[in-house]
């Protein structure tokens, strides 16, 4: 107690009196240094995130014709978007993709992470298998989408094997360029975003909790539902944020894998962009942003990310 008070007194007096040893030692910890260190990040995010988003919000009230956009304050970009049943249908379709892909990636992601965390016993093997799962994430999404073509196409591997085995008389048309293909490709692209955070939380579960539950007579299933899943919730939540936001904003997978037979909000926006209808795209963007942030906020009520790192 007394020492603490003395220390405290020392700090205060040293702060007052110029530059004694204690101050130099604390030189690095002054808030100015923190600000300087954070400054590049602030500048980049300000310039390439905050200001562009504000620009979108501004342009969403502008007028446009087929060649250019005009500064103005009109609301028809919003009323047209929200008043059209096409928009609502497309949002519904996007939500449908989101829910299906979310459930599938959560299911697959959890069991893959669970297997890695609880069934692989050597750390080296864990790291190797984890890398095996992560490496595709670091390769091109477009290439990974294209790579489904020889599988799913009309004369693809699946159709030709099914025909050879006599299971179907003629090629299945729904495999490629369909909503099925969109969901398949999204699961393929985005499951890793679920595996990593769930694996991270599972690795931090104290194994003695599992032992204790077993000693107390819990069955394997009870341990899973009462111990492991509740403790894995933060990881599941973070993975869900990734997957939900990726699917909600996706346009390239939907365009490529559905072959133009399905739509999503992102695709609607990218079509408006290619028609140079920027204000309409901007209004759409603002609505999408609000929807996505609301979903993220809802998920964040379950978990504090800062604690999970």
């Amino acid at each position: 107690m007394a020492t603490a008070a003395a220390d405290n007194g020392l700090t205060i007096s040293s702060n007052k009196s110029g530059k004694p040893a204690a101050k130099t030692r604390r030189g690095l910890t002054s808030p100015i240094v923190s600000y300087l260190q954070a400054m590049p990040l602030v500048l980049i995010l300000g310039l390439f995130l905050l200001l562009p988003i504000l620009t979108i919000a501004m342009v969403s009230f502008w007028d446009y014709d087929s060649v250019r956009i005009y500064p103005d304050f009109v609301t028809f970009n919003y009323t047209e978007t929200l008043g059209s049943w096409v928009t609502w249908k497309i949002y519904l379709n996007t939500f449908k993709f989101t829910v299906i892909v979310w459930l599938l990636t959560m299911f697959i992601g959890f069991w893959v992470a669970y297997f890695l965390a609880f069934h692989i016993r050597s750390t080296t093997m864990q790291i190797v298998l984890f890398l095996v799962c992560t490496v595709p994430f670091l390769t091109s999404n477009i290439i990974r989408m294209i790579s489904w073509v020889p599988f799913l196409g009309r004369n693809g591997l699946i159709n030709s094997s099914l025909i050879q085995l006599g299971i179907v008389p003629k090629p299945l048309e729904f495999l490629l360029f369909s909503e099925f293909a969109v969901v398949l490709a999204m699961v393929h692209l985005y499951t890793l975003f679920m595996v990593t955070p769930i694996f991270n939380t599972l690795m931090r579960i104290d194994r003695s909790l599992v032992e204790a539950a077993r000693d107390a007579g819990a069955s394997g299933f009870q341990i899973l539902t009462n111990v492991i899943i509740p403790l894995a919730k933060p990881g599941i939540a973070i993975g869900s944020i990734f997957v939900v936001t990726l699917v909600m904003g996706d346009f390239i997978t939907v365009r490529f894998m559905s072959g133009g037979q399905s739509a999503s909000v992102g695709l609607m926006m990218s079509n408006q962009i290619s028609l140079l209808q920027y204000p309409a795209a901007a209004a759409n963007a603002v609505i999408l942003l609000i929807v996505v942030l609301l979903i993220v906020a809802a998920i964040l009520r379950v978990v504090d990310i800062r604690k999970e790192l």
Partner: protein, 273 residues
Amino acid sequence: MHPEKRSREFYVLAFFFTLFVLFLYGPLSTIFILSFQGPSGGLTFPMNGTSLHWFRNLFEQQAVGDFGGSFRRSMVLGLMTTTITVIVSLLAGLAFRRKFRGSTFLFYLAISSLVIPSILISLGIGLFFQVLGIRPAWWSSGLGAHLTWTLPFGVLIMFAVFNRFSPAYEEAARDLGATPWQTFRYVVLPMIAPSLIGVGLFGFTLSYDEFARTLMTAGTFNTLPLEIYGMTTNVTTPVLYALGTVTTVFSFLIILVALTAIIIVGRRRARIG
């Protein structure tokens, strides 16, 4: 090591895991095989002989647009993004070790950079440059767009690293008379070097493969993913697969180099420490 027997659960999950890995790599390996298709072969099996025809085709300028130029641009852009990501994430990581006014806001700003759909960032930066009257280019607006994707990953990794970093080492260094710079250079930096390589790896590969954020920000000249995307609509020969094979092999090489560097740095540290 463990005497207990593998449970049935293990075998079921091991089977599931194997299926998952096949699901991840199966499609990639088919385009790898099909890129060696003979000159008369098509986009699907069967193989009509094997050849390097489509790889040669890839390097003939007129056949597939500007492969060489777009690859060079993607390389340069990737290296620029990597350098900036590593430095800025490291600095931000150091800053976040202490609470400062606005630190929570900045943290959530970085997170939102991750969750805001890419197409929005692309549109936003494109419009921002248009409103300012600046021509977008891959090395300006494109670079900025890539940074909004790589920096949050870098910052989160550094945040996690410094959360587990004991200040005892720095205190010891200071007690031995090291200046703050020496403490950073000889104590902190070697300890976090593997994580920095990891940040760099993320920075490069994410930038090298980025598509959606580049779409409206690349300006006149395409990056490689934009070029590939353009090809998907008008190229109907296995040259597309050859390109896929080449870029994927390149990504794998980068990953391999980074992992080797991490292992070497880790070993050296273990030997000294």
